[in-house]
């Protein structure tokens, strides 16, 4: 079979080389923890008395996670191989590096591998007298029924959840408060997506799965985990409606409510397509009398070069809105 073309050197060093390139591009924002190359922390973030925020997970979702490390958002990120959790060591090193004595929050997507590795790191941190609490992101409403929300995966919506928690930490709220804001942010965040064509791991250079011509996969995971259904590729409005209907069903927004919107590309899907979807999002929200506080459109949580997109709504209250508006200055994302 035809090999997927990628601009890489060898398959073994993609993550190291990517990190080198990221550090070369963003020296004002990011640095490596001494002796732990996969632990990246904000140049200007962690500080005494502040709850440290460590995020992380597999590579291949850029700008998630590294792009969201910086003052006002996450203090550090532990970086795994492509689509693989980081091992406990780099997570632990991040925790040590960003700990300001007020506790460290671990936030990451709810995947078995990540949970096991982060939990081991938390156990190790406890031995170093660092108090770690964990908030898992579980925004992918397609990944489990509503009454099993804690089984759901974390996908593009983790951007909102990290942002809110990062703001809480930056405001020097207490550990309890930071954790509470993180959980609340996650509870208020709903994502669903569709995939149109697969991605290939750098190590195999062949598609990790198949989506037949003319078809799309509804609710596919950001690592190519099969979704909830396969169906014919629908027009942009129908796709947006299908996603929004499910989100509305869970979120149950009332007239006058406020949301933040994220229309995210899985990689290859263009801004043109995302904005066409956003047009429909706006129409549907207008119809329901829901006001849009802010909209982000672009590559926020990708799956290598997968084609497809997701829509995330965060159901805002005053507090969450304040957290989203709080300034942050990250290598790949900024709120001023």
């Amino acid at each position: 079979m035809e090999k997927t073309k990628k601009i890489i050197n060898g398959q073994d060093n993609v993550v190291e080389e990517m990190l080198d390139g990221i550090l070369a591009a963003h020296p004002q924002h990011l640095r490596q923890v001494e002796g732990s190359a996969r632990s990246i922390i904000a140049v200007d973030g962690p500080r005494p008395g502040k709850v440290g925020l460590v995020i992380g997970g597999g590579s291949g979702h850029e700008p998630t996670f590294l792009g969201f490390v910086g003052r006002g958002l996450a203090d550090g990120a532990a970086i795994g191989n492509v689509f693989a959790s980081p091992p406990p060591d780099p997570i632990l090193e991040c925790a040590k590096a960003v700990s300001g004595g007020a506790g460290v929050l671990f936030m990451y997507g709810n995947y078995a591998g990540d949970v096991m590795n982060f939990d081991m790191a938390a156990e190790m941190a406890a031995m170093d007298d660092i108090d770690v609490r964990t908030v898992l992101t579980t925004d992918d409403i397609a990944s489990a029924p509503r009454d099993e929300r804690d089984k759901r995966r974390g996908v593009a919506g983790n951007f909102f959840v990290f942002k809110a928690a990062g703001a809480a930490c930056d405001k020097i709220l207490s550990f309890d408060e930071c954790e509470r804001v993180g959980r609340k942010a996650n509870d208020h965040t709903y994502t669903m997506g569709v995939a149109l064509s697969p991605c290939s791991l750098p190590q195999t250079l062949k598609p990790s799965f198949e989506i037949a011509p003319g078809e799309m996969e509804v609710g596919m995971g950001i690592h190519g985990e099969p979704g909830i259904a396969v169906g014919p590729l629908e027009p942009a409005d129908a796709i947006s409606d299908m996603i929004l209907d499910r989100i509305f069903e869970e979120m149950a927004p009332a007239r006058g409510d406020k949301v933040a919107v994220l229309v995210n590309s899985l990689g290859a899907t263009s801004l043109m397509e995302l904005y066409i979807m956003n047009r429909r999002v706006k129409q549907r929200l207008d119809e329901r009398g829901i006001s849009i506080h802010a909209t982000w459109v672009g590559n926020y949580c990708t799956s290598l070069e997968m084609a497809g997109a997701s829509i995330t709504l965060m159901h805002l209250d005053g507090e969450l809105q304040e957290m989203l508006d709080h300034p942050c200055d990250c290598a790949m994302f900024r709120v001023v």
Binding site: G58, A84, P86, P88, G113
Partner: protein, 215 residues
């Protein structure tokens, strides 16, 4: 009755690394059906790192515990992913059963297999029937114990163990996943062998081969 020292465990781990490297693509394909297509990569990376780390060891009189612990640590740090903590825990627990011993007697493998299976179950909070590697490791551990209790020698015990692991892995085909990445698929996970169960069979087969049971 043969005894197995640290050096023979090193040989065993190298045999696992070789076997897994050969199955890398196959395991990725299995994972592609119900997971994220990287299980072969993770396993090859993990056992490759184990093999490299063990090559650095001074073999002279190395204790079995030290080999298991080094395997655990190098596997864990190389892999991330689910398989990392699962196998790392398995090897750490196996190492604990061998604590203080300079070599493993045949019967010690019963304890080691029980500890590995238990370690995986504990770490993954999984039990038999949830379509994970536990479905290979648990019956394998039980078969090892039963064979040994029935008086079988290690070669015969391992034969039974491998057979049980294979049967367990086969059985995952008909299961609906309840743990791990594939658990979200519901009915769509049925009809495919669990990649972690499949790789467990290759691991156990390679242990049998690598331990030189003819001795």
């Amino acid at each position: 009755m043969a005894n197995y020292d640290g050096a023979s465990l090193v040989k065993m781990f190298k045999a696992i690394a070789t076997a897994i490297a050969a199955q890398k693509e196959h395991l990725c394909e299995l994972d592609g059906k119900i997971g994220d297509a990287d299980h072969g990569i993770a396993m090859a990376l993990g056992f490759g790192a184990v093999s490299d780390a063990l090559s650095e060891l001074d073999m002279d009189g190395v204790a079995p515990t030290a080999v298991f612990n080094m395997a655990a640590k190098s596997f864990l740090n190389a892999v991330g992913a689910s398989s990392g903590p699962l196998y790392a825990t398995a090897f750490m627990r196996a190492g604990a059963t061998a604590k203080g011993k300079i070599s493993l007697a045949e019967g010690d493998f019963v304890a080691a297999f029980q500890a590995m299976a238990k370690g995986i179950e504990d770490r993954g909070k999984a039990v038999v029937g949830e379509k994970t590697m536990v479905d290979a490791w648990r019956p394998a551990a039980e078969a090892m114990a039963a064979a040994h209790a029935g008086g079988a020698d290690l070669a015969a015990s391992f034969a039974a163990t491998v057979a049980a692991a294979r049967k367990g892995a086969e059985a995952t085909i008909d299961m609906v996943a309840a743990k791990g990445r594939s658990a979200r698929l519901g009915e769509r996970s049925r009809g495919h062998m669990d990649p972690g169960a499949a790789s467990a069979v290759f691991v156990i087969e390679a242990m049998e081969r690598g331990l030189d049971l003819s001795g």
